[in-house]
Symmetry: C2
Subunit: 221 residues, 2 copies
C-alpha cells in the first residue's frame, strides 16, 4: 500500500507517518520508485503500536523508541515484552531488572516494607523493580493519613490484585512481542479506569447490602 493508504488504515495523518519514518520509529517501506515506497501489514502494526505508546501511554518519542528497540530483541518472549512495556510506563525503560542483575541488591534500597511484603507472599518480582518503590511511597502516604492499612489488609488487596493480574496476563496475545506490548501498554492505561470505577461500584454494593440503610430504585435485587 502507499503512504496515503497506510495513513487511512491507521488514522495517522500522512505528515505524522513521514515524521515517524524520519525519526526511525517506523521502518522504511520498500522503495518502488524515486518518489514512492510500498508499505505492508507490518507498518500498520508498528504504526498502531507507536500511537498506543505515545498517545494513550503518554510516552515521549524518546521513551517510545527505547521500548520499540527493546522489543526488537530476537529472543524476547511476549512476557518479557510485557515487563519492558510496564517499566516504560514508569518512565524507566533503561533499567530492566534483567540488566540490573544481582548487583542491584546492593545499589538499590536493600530492603523495604514492600519488598518484604512481596517476598512474604512468594511473588516473583525483581527487588530492583521501581514499582516496588512506587508501592512503598503509596503505602507510606496511607500511613501518614492514618488509614490503618496494615499487612493484613494489604494481603487482601494483594489477593485481589493477583486475580486481576492473572486476568491481565491471560489476555496478553502470545502471537508477537509487538502485539503483547500493545496489549500491556493499552491494558495498563485503559483498564485502570475500569478497575477504579468497578471499585467504587463494588464499595456501594457492599455498603448497601451489608448496611442497615434500605434504598429504593437500586439496580440489584
Amino acid at each position: 500500500m502507499r503512504i496515503s493508504d497506510l495513513s487511512e488504515a491507521t488514522g495517522v495523518p500522512v505528515a505524522t507517518v513521514k515524521y515517524y519514518l524520519r525519526e526511525r520509529l517506523l521502518h522504511p517501506g520498500e522503495v518502488v520508485s524515486r518518489t514512492q515506497a510500498r508499505y505492508d501489514a507490518s507498518h500498520v502494526e508498528r504504526l498502531t503500536l507507536v500511537r498506543a505508546l505515545t498517545e494513550v501511554g503518554g510516552l515521549s518519542l524518546a521513551t517510545a523508541r527505547r521500548v520499540l528497540a527493546a522489543i526488537e530483541e530476537p529472543d524476547l518472549s511476549p512476557l518479557d515484552a510485557m515487563a519492558v512495556a510496564q517499566r516504560s510506563l514508569l518512565g524507566e525503560p533503561d533499567a530492566p531488572p534483567e540488566d540490573a542483575g544481582p548487583s542491584c541488591d546492593a545499589a538499590g534500597p536493600p530492603d523495604s516494607r514492600s519488598r518484604r511484603f512481596v517476598a512474604g507472599r512468594g511473588w516473583q518480582v525483581h527487588p530492583g523493580d521501581p514499582v516496588l518503590d512506587q508501592l512503598d511511597a503509596a503505602w507510606e502516604a496511607c500511613d501518614r493519613a492514618g488509614l490503618g492499612l496494615d499487612e493484613e489488609r494489604m494481603a487482601r488487596y494483594a489477593d485481589a490484585a493477583e486475580q486481576i493480574g492473572r486476568t491481565d496476563v491471560e489476555s496478553v496475545p502470545r502471537t508477537s512481542p509487538q502485539a503483547a506490548v500493545r496489549q500491556v501498554v493499552l491494558g495498563t492505561v485503559l483498564i485502570d479506569p475500569v478497575l477504579v470505577a468497578l471499585r467504587r461500584l463494588a464499595q456501594q454494593h457492599v455498603a448497601v447490602s451489608t448496611g442497615s440503610s434500605s434504598r429504593s430504585g437500586m439496580l440489584g435485587p
Copy 2:
C-alpha cells in the same frame, strides 16, 4: 485549646484556620474573651477532614462545604456518608442517588452496558450513579483500542473489585460520619495508587510464574 494549639495539633497554619472559620468550613470555638475562643477535639476532627477533602481529595472549598453540609444531616449513617464522599470525588455531590429518586430512570440514560452488567451481577447500585457513566466510558475506550474486554473478563475484574470493595467497606469506621467520610475520601484517593502498583507487581509475578522464561535474583521462591 487556643487557636495556636489547634494549629499545632493539626499542622494547619493559624491563618488557614482563621480562613476556614470565616468561610464556615469550621464551626466557631467557644468565646472566652473579646479576643479569644476555645477549641476542642471536634475542631481537630473537622479541620483534619477539611484538609483531607481539599488537599488530598482535591475538592474545591465549595464542594468541600457541600460534602460537610451533607454529612451533618442528623440521621446520616456512616455508610450513607461514604456514598456522599464517593460522589464528591466525582465532582457531583449535589446529586446523591437518594435525592434523584426513581425519576432519574427517565432522566438519565435509560440503559447502558454498564447498567446491564451491574444489574446482571446483582450489584445494588443506583442506576443514576455517575460512576456507571464513568464505567461505560472506560469500557468503550477499551473497545476502541481493541483490548477484547468482553463480559467474561469484565466479570473477573468485577469479582476482584468486589473483594477490594469489601475490604474497603470493612475499614470504614462506624464511629461517626466525619470519620467515615475522611476514611472514604482518603482511602479512595490514596489506596488507588496502592492497587495500581499491586496490579503491576501481580502481573509480573503471574507472567514469570506461568511463563517459560527463568529469571535470577527474584524476590520470590
